[in-house]
């Protein structure tokens, strides 16, 4: 192979679409390069005080200029410890990301600029709030011009939100198979007829889809003549904002009443919280990933001393509840994520390198401890995954593992075994002894404590 000829040799594999610049990693620090093509815009955004203002209002990630040459301006943005993708967000997260984008567009237009793109990947959740992370997404606003990123906004935000309103939050996973947003034709085919009675959906989705179909094979000779008055565009943004703000999704949850419904009396739950809290402070752990963390109730009992806690769950509503609590209680160090451990988020995009898999991101982030509480019986009995494979998986990203093992007398374990019917005997291996034997291939068991008034054992393990 010959040497890669240009600056793209060290750029971040997610960053190649926009020619204004690119993101790269330099000595483990994420940096953004601004290319000469974008210098005029960048200098105007800087000298007009626009960057300062959007950063002050919490709309854009803060950055520092680290180097300026004729060929490139280097920026160091504030570090975000863990990036979650739109297809790992709950309904309310996507909704807040959409509102944030509209807010930024309105503010930009009012200041003489415009968002030139509106992909959901330009938003990250940082300290509990959505924030815009693409510093080079702004361009000058040409008076009375249409918003070129409008279709992108509809495909990335409005369409999935409206679909989830009618079909439940599971449909948001469509964003995983369509990383450029859900095609308008697919959205209209999935929406019920009654959605046409809503003027916002009728115009912004159905009419838009029809127009796109009609002009599909035409190039834009006419676009210079198209005018959308500034006042009307701002009204359009207001209308979209208020419509999205009012959108909701109704669906019963699998786990949202988990702590009210099952398995634990208060003594056992308090014991578990205190025990984990004690281990975490004893070992001085600063970062954790809770796989199967429900709405974050457990993590909240010790999160005050942590730098951050990634809290994953398979249930969209539990993740949503967690996000709502983060907003209410201002839990800046909790990062909610939709996570199905039997089908973890894969790597996506060009060369499978544009969007990273969850395993890859956890490997890079290396949380001090992995938490797997009331989870292993679901992986083992519902997912049929052998203990050894689960142990190998948990040994991937952290030095410590805090894991809870419910034995065969536990009610949930019994239910899961009974559901196996004729296949039940296949799970005779499910015992404390086998669990410990297989996990000891990868871990040393440091502590082993029976949780009172339950049939569960809590383990602290350290990787060998």
């Amino acid at each position: 192979m010959r040497t890669i000829p240009n600056s793209f040799s060290n750029n971040h594999s997610s960053s190649f679409r926009d020619p204004s610049g690119y993101v790269f990693v330099d000595n483990n620090v994420l940096k953004r390069a601004v290319l000469p093509k974008y210098f005029t815009q960048y200098n105007a955004l800087k000298s007009s005080g626009f960057y300062k203002k959007v950063i002050k209002h919490g709309l854009l990630i803060p950055h520092n200029e680290s180097k300026t040459t004729k060929e490139c301006i280097e920026l160091i943005p504030e570090e975000i410890p863990f990036i979650t993708y739109p297809y790992e967000w709950s309904f309310s997260q996507l909704k807040d990301a959409a509102l944030h984008t509209l807010k930024l567009q309105k503010y930009a237009v009012s200041n003489g600029y415009v968002l030139k793109d509106a992909t959901a990947f330009n938003i990250a959740f940082h300290r509990g709030n959505p924030i815009f992370i693409d510093t080079l997404s702004f361009d000058f606003y040409t008076p009375d011009s249409p918003w070129k990123a409008f279709k992108m906004f509809v495909q990335h935000f409005l369409s999935p939100l409206v679909l989830a309103h009618y079909h439940g939050p599971t449909i948001l996973k469509l964003l995983q198979t369509h990383i450029d947003g859900i095609p308008l034709s697919l959205t209209t085919s999935l929406l019920p007829r009654k959605s046409k009675l809503n003027p916002t959906i009728l115009t912004n989705i159905h009419l838009l889809a029809k127009a796109e179909r009609k002009y599909k094979n035409q190039t834009d000779k006419k676009t210079k003549k198209i005018k959308v008055k500034k006042e009307r565009h701002l009204n359009h943004l207001d209308a979209l904002y208020s419509f999205i703000q009012g959108l909701n999704v109704n669906q019963q949850t699998e786990w949202a009443n988990y702590y009210e419904n099952i398995h634990y009396d208060d003594t056992a739950l308090d014991f578990k919280k205190n025990q984990i809290s004690e281990w975490i402070s004893y070992l001085d752990l600063k970062t954790v990933v809770d796989i199967g963390g429900n709405d974050g109730t457990m993590v909240r009992s010790f999160s005050h001393d942590l730098d951050f806690a990634i809290v994953g769950d398979i249930d969209e509503n539990a993740v949503d509840l967690n996000y709502q609590k983060i907003k209410e209680q201002k839990d800046a160090n909790i990062i909610p994520i939709l996570l199905d451990i039997l089908q973890p988020t894969p790597a996506l995009g060009f060369d499978n390198k544009e969007r990273f898999s969850i395993i890859n991101r956890l490997n890079k982030c290396k949380p001090d401890s992995t938490l797997a509480l009331a989870l292993i019986h679901h992986i083992s009995l519902s997912g049929n995954v052998p203990f050894l494979k689960i142990a190998e998986f948990f040994a991937r990203f952290s030095n410590y593992l805090i894991i809870e093992f419910p034995n065969r007398d536990d009610k949930m374990v019994q239910l899961l075994l009974d559901q196996k019917r004729d296949f039940k005997n296949h799970f005779d291996f499910y015992s404390e002894e086998n669990f410990e034997k297989d996990f000891c291939v990868f871990f040393d068991i440091k502590k082993r404590v029976a949780i009172p008034k339950s049939n569960r054992i809590l383990y602290l393990m350290e990787i060998i």
Partner: protein, 62 residues
Amino acid sequence: MIVLYFDPGLGAMLVQALIAAAASVIVFSKNVKAKIQNFFSNKKVEKPNQDSINIDEDENNS
């Protein structure tokens, strides 16, 4: 103005003026409705405590 790296969609651009006009009607009619409700109601209809699209220039969120 720099060149876009994606296709904004000709249909989307052409129809946007119409959608924006319709949105203006929606916003206008909502405001009128709120004013009428306020006029006939003894209690003022207060807007729920929700985030606004407008930025308060004095507020510091960073």
